[in-house]
Every structure is written in C-alpha cells, then in structure tokens.
Amino acid sequence: MYPLMQAWINTYSYLQPNVQISYSAVGSGKGIAGITSGLYTVGESDAPLSAAQYAKLPANSTLLTIPISDSGIIPAYNLPGITAHLNFTGNVLAEIFYGSITMWNDPRIANLQSASVAAQLPAHAIQVYHRSDGSGTMYGFTQFLSDSNSTWKNNIGYSTSTLAWPVGIGCLHNAGVADCIATTPYSIGPLEIAYEIANPGQINYGAVRNAYGNYIVANLTNISQALAAGVRNGLPSTDAQWTGFSVIQATFNDTSDAYIYPVSTFTYALVYQDLSASYASTSQAQAVAALNFLSWVVNNGQSSAPTSSGSTLGYPPLPSSAVTLDNSLLATITYNGTPVL
C-alpha cells in the first residue's frame, strides 16, 4: 500500500503543487489510533475497525470507511523444474501453513493438479515462509485461511499484527519474503500481487480455487472483479460500522461470477463525517484539500497509479461500483454543515 500512496502523492503534487501532503507509513494499528486522536486528517487501514476500536472513537462522531484501493495475495513458491501454475484450495493452503501437509507430493496437493503436473511434484519437504511483521497482506491471507479451515480459525485466526505462525520462517516485508522464496528451492509463501507484477517472471505462483470451483491465477482484472462482487454482496451502509466486513468473507461463497480471485481485499481511508468537529482537528482549508485529494484518488488515481515512468505498480483499480459508492460517501462529508466537495 505504501508505494501506491507515495506514487499518488507524487503524481498529485504535480497536478496541485500548492497542496502538501505528508504521509506516515506506520501500519494500520497506528493509522486507526491516529484518526481516533485527531492526529491525522485521513487515516488508512487494511482492515475496518473492530468493535473495540469503534468504542474508542469520540462520542457522537461518525467515522466513514472508504475503500480506496485493493490488493490480492498470491501463494508464491519455488519449485525447480515446474513452470505450470499449481492449483491450491484454501483448505490445502491452510494445512500447508499449519504444518499438517509437509511434503510437496502429498496426495492432498497432488489431487488438485492435472495428472502431468501431479507427476512432477517432488518428494521433498515444503519450506514455509511467511511475513515476520504484521501487514494487511497477512491479514487478508490468514482471513482466507480462517474461512477455509476451522483448525486454522480456532488456533491461529487472523490479524493485522503479527501472528503465532505454527511453522515456517518469517522474512521481513514483501521483498524479504520474495527474496527468501527466490533463494530457497521447495519453498512457499504468501506474497502481494503488486510485488509479482513489478517483477514479472521472477516468482512462480499458484492458482487458488474460488467458490464457483475454478482455479484462478490472480491478475489485476480478476481481483477487481472479486471486489466488484464484494460490493454487490452488500457493503455496510454509509455511516454504519464496518466491523467484521471483508471482501474475502463476502465473496467466499459467491458463485455468481466464475472468475473472481478469492483472496482479494480492500484498503480503506478513514475520515470523520463532520470535519469541523473539534475531535477532527481540521481546518476548512485542510478539509477541502484532503477531500479533493481523496476524490482524485478514487476517480483518477485508479488507472494502476502510473508512476512518472509510466510503469504500473501492480495495484488493481477499484471496480466502478466501488468508485460510485466512494463518491457518494465523500459527498456526505461536511464542514460546518455544508458539504465540502
């Protein structure tokens, strides 16, 4: 998320040189804490607030949860000699990361593959890698594992902070996980799609089965489609609490679209609905500037956040239904009673 926000800020500063945006990449927990205390005008988080976090908000305040970007998490692996995309289900992935499946040629993995690929699976132990730090990527991935496998859900669960991974080695940041996988044969680890798109062909990754039954190899399109399905399945209403909402859970049983990628998530901007309130600590000028930026991000910044060199950063664009929703949410934000935008 951080490279994307940085790219947006860079691009926006060309368009609006008078607006200065400062961005602290400190993690979702601090983002939520910052908006609660009024430190930030706009907070950012990979997960909606929990009930406990909503309870800490100032009295009579309404905090809007606005999806501004998405990401997909792919199961990346390093298997010498195998170039095909392996098929995985959420249940099998959960068992691999829990330690119940330890060998690559385990029948539970082989049964998901075509005959020719299954024959290529080596009789070698699986080296599991995961993130050593907390992140939205791991939040989404472990949420998917929790939905797919009750043992994982009851013993490990999911979180934006670090987890008690039962097996495997932790590597720091997405780049660390990618390096660990690239230098270790017979390894597997969860990776954000953005990393693979920025470095195509360096890491091999598998397909994940969705509710419809298709094995989907993640790309920008099918992640966007998943998020559109999430919007279709119903987002919480405008100013309601978003606790527990997740695209992964909303689309887990969605069979309407055959090609959605099941491990896709939103990232959210958090803004108070009444920016003139004392707890928001925002001046009118700041409110206008912030909302103009957010509106630009939602409407114009979604074309894969082009960097100055024109390359794509690998973050899927918001589906149009989400853009419509975001615009309606932004329109409800007021300063001293009048809408800001």
Binding site: V26, G27, S28, G29, K30, I32, S50, A52, Q53, A125, Q127, S132, D133, G134, S135, I156, G157, Y158, S159, T160, S161, T162, L163, A164, W165, G168, I169, G170, C171, L172, G176, D179, C180, T183, T184
Partner: protein, 317 residues
Amino acid sequence: MTALPKEKRSSGSKGDLVLKAVVGAAAVGVIAILVGLGVELTSGSWLSIKTFGLGFITGSTWNPPRDIFNVFPFILGTLITSALALLFGLPIGLGVAIFLSERAGRARGLGAALGSLVELLAAVPSVIYGLWGLLVLVPFMREYVEPTLKTYLGFTQLFNAAPFGLDLLTAGVVLTIMIIPTISAVSRDVLNAVPNSQREAMYSLGATDWEVTRKAVLPYARSGIFGATILGLGRAVGETMAVTFVVGNATAIPTSLISPGYTLTSLIVNQFGTTTDPLSDAALVEVGLVLFMLALVINFFARVLVWRMTRSTKFRV
C-alpha cells in the same frame, strides 16, 4: 595531597566554576537520560507488567491476536546468538589484535593496512550485513555448512534440524563479523599498552615468542581484553537489522542451533507499528525494558568480574 591555599584558587575561579558547572551538568545529564529511559520504559509497559507479571519473561507463547505476550524464546535467542558471536569472535578478534601488536611490528606497513581494513568492517552499516547475510551467507550455510554439520554432528541435539540457512547459527556468524572490529581494536590498544619491560623480562628468561605473548602479555592485559569482550557482547545483544534478516523469526523455542530463532531486537523491529491495542503496545515497550535490563545486567556482571580479577592480581592496568 594538600588542598591549594585559598589565595591561589581565587584567580580564575569564576572560569573554574563555569567549567565545573558545565561538566557537572553534562555528567548529570547523562545519568538523567539513563534514569529517564528506565522510568519511561517502565511506565510505558506498566499495563503489560500488571497483566503478565513475571510470566512475561518465563512464558513462551507470543500470540498477539489472542493477547498473550511472553518473551522467553526471544531472550533465549538473544543470548544464544550473542554467545555464538563471542565464541567465534573473541579468538578471531584477539588473534588479529595479537598479530597487529606483537607480530606486525616488523612489517609496519602490513600492520597498518590490516588494522585499517579490520576497522573498515565496523564502518559497514548493519543493514548491509543483513542484506549480504540473506542473499549470500544464508544460501552458503544452507547448501554447504549446515548439511555437513548435520551429517557429522547431528547426533547431538545442537545440529539436529532441517537446515534452511535462516537460523541462530547464521545470525551468530553475522554477529561475529560485526563484533570482530570492536574486540580487535580495543584489544590491540590494550596489548600495545603492556610495558615492554614485561616482554623483555620473559625474553631474557629464554621464552619463545608465543610464550612471551601467552605468559607475559596476555595475563597483564587480561582485564582490558575482558572489557573489549563486554563491548563486543553489548554490540551483539543490541544488533537489530542484521539479525532480523537472517535469524528466521520463528516464535517457538529453538530446538537446535540450526533451527530458526528470534531475538528481542528483531521482535521490536517486526512488531512496531502493527500493534492494535494498548496491551500490545505496552508489551512491546516491556520487550524494550527487558532488553535494557539485560544490557545493564551484563555490564554489571562484567564490572564485578573485572574488579575481582584486578583485585587478585599483582598487576594494575
């Protein structure tokens, strides 16, 4: 020593007073920072201290989503990696120091060049050591060193695990390289400070070069070398980024030297910014407090040992 008569002190006494005040303030300031650090760490972690008590350092489960925070595996990881670093680093660092001070005297250019190169090791940022460790050392350990250790020494529990390179042993090797310059630089100064009369006396008794070093120079410099070791240990305990890249970051208690581990410093790096509630914030500050106390305890025992050693010898360094 008799005090100066008052008339002699009065001239320039204002300057003396100012100097005393400034220097005194600096000393007091340093102590205040230390005490303030301890107080802040304690108050920041008070919630966690109340919740877990002593179980924080004796328990072994670190599970943030379930709000369980115990740091014994991390203390173990810090101690093991630092001990490994000392085990390898002390002989090498001391060897370099002995070479530079005792042997290279005859080839002065070589000594100076070698000395500068060793000190350059200290100038490399620790993140670079981490990256180099991850990309170069880890595959090397995984493919050559650890399978060999497992084959020949696998009967001991120490080397009985699947070797993947990201483990306590690799972290120990990286830390060794990082503390060699510290130990060798301080030891070399200490060895150079040994008076030549000691060496000459041994030579006159017919000792060989090595006997002179072993029996005359090293015992004389013992407490200084010990001080160098403690400095190296302090650096190893506090080393963060280099260790985080290569130690494996696994929260279970490590069962062997080649299984992945976790240190207190890596824990703080990985957890910072991702805490979601006051208890996890407080737990993280308490990890810092534990690290702080560990450093103080190590230093305290070092000083006690140095005091006992110098008390019982006839030499005074």
